[in-house]
Amino acid sequence: MTTALQAGLISCHFCHTLSKLPESIDGEIINKNTEIYCPCCHSSLYSRIPNSLNRTWALLLAALILYIPANTLPVMTVIFWGEGQPDTILSGVMHLFAEGMWPLALLIFLASIFIPILKLLTLTGLLISIHFRAHWRPKDRTIMYRITEFIGRWSMVDIFVIALLVALVQFGNTASVSPNLGALSFAAVVILTMFAAQTFDPRLIWDAIEEDSAKETEK
């Protein structure tokens, strides 16, 4: 079992063309900072996403910080006969439960509370496991990453519901819905975690194991 990195090859992120890392381009010796491009699709080539861990940490921390206003500030206010009732994400779910719309409550709970928490925890866990060069179940960790990357965008459903309610319920003083700052914070959390998942490189999970086993065979 050889990886592309060990074989001195680079796989293109987009078209998966395998390229051999040249020793020099036009007489200039290749170092770490030289930009090289895929011969097939001209995307810039890298063996691992550059600064993957730092960038993922930064985006993840920003998302964690914004997660606080996203849950404490109201996401929307329903104004009925002049009386406003601000709702946070959690109180919105509670209201749906109280009104007996439990399938809907469950859906919003999954999309707006369960998935974001799962995503933040999974990404934090993956980053920490790479920092400690863990050998623990690399395949399961890769699958966890794939699920996080796939499922994250569905959290946007609550934002879209708010947008639709704002657009539809506009009956002057009788009934109207206005969006609040919590909605923007929540949308920012979803978008930041999506970027964080994109900049995370799952190959780093396997690198620790390979480098350690290479060291052992040297001994």
């Binding site: 078209c15 395998l18 097939c40 569905w154 879209f160 639709l164 539809l168 190959r203 396997w206």
Partner: protein, 217 residues
């Protein structure tokens, strides 16, 4: 090395080498028969697929999708009738309503995810696939296709569809919700978009680029 679902492989074509995108393992993949999928032996990532008429089918779904996209934008998706007043909403007016409610950033997010990125996906896919079919690939094809692959996750119409269903149930008891041609067109649009992303095999587009430039390894 990669696992196969059937064993109808033709013996003439060459074995191709690919590095797993998720764990970097180099694998040799035997030629795949139609509807065969190759998975990584170490991490189960999907490596390659072989789909029948991938380019033609995807082009058909993309053109259907574009027509449906235009129809869903011509008429209001949902209307709400209460107290003698009717409120209409469409894809663009949803974004506009947030802008008017003093949330320009939120409005921009909605505009990008429900209008601009889906429109770019449909138009871009049609443009690229026609180029591939007529063999008129130029240096910007790869650039555009890379952009489309990268922004694939940001078109969120299927999530918007779910939001419409939630809003329908929520408002159902309070007011009369009217839906028309546009909502039906929108449902079909979601169907053609998901069939589009299912039938599109990016490797086919890359292969034709590779053949054109003669850069296969």
């Amino acid at each position: 090395m990669a696992s196969n679902h059937s064993n109808n492989t033709s013996p003439h074509a060459q074995v191709s080498h690919i590095a797993c995108p998720d764990c970097d393992l180099i694998l040799s993949v035997p030629p795949l028969a139609v509807n065969e999928v190759a998975y990584c032996i170490r991490c189960d990532a999907t490596l390659l697929r072989n789909q029948k008429n991938s380019i033609d089918r995807t082009l058909a779904f993309a053109i259907t999708g574009l027509i449906l996209f235009v129809i869903s934008n011509l008429f209001p998706l949902l209307s709400l009738k209460a107290m003698g007043l009717t409120q209409e909403s469409s894809l663009l007016s949803t974004a506009l309503a947030l802008f008017e409610a003093d949330r320009p950033l939120l409005s921009l997010i909605i505009l990008l995810t429900t209008f601009i990125f889906p429109a770019i996906t449909l138009l871009g896919t049609i443009y690229i696939l026609i180029q591939v079919k007529t063999n008129r690939i130029n240096r910007y094809t790869a650039l555009l296709f890379r952009f489309l692959r990268r922004t694939d996750a940001w078109g969120m119409l299927e999530i918007f569809m779910l939001a419409i269903l939630v809003a329908l149930v929520k408002l159902g008891d309070v007011a009369d919700v009217i839906y028309g041609v546009s909502l039906y067109a929108f449902c079909l649009l979601i169907l053609s978009l998901s069939l589009l992303s299912y039938s599109l095999n990016p490797q086919d587009v890359w292969n034709s680029l590779r053949n054109k430039q003669g850069c296969s390894l």
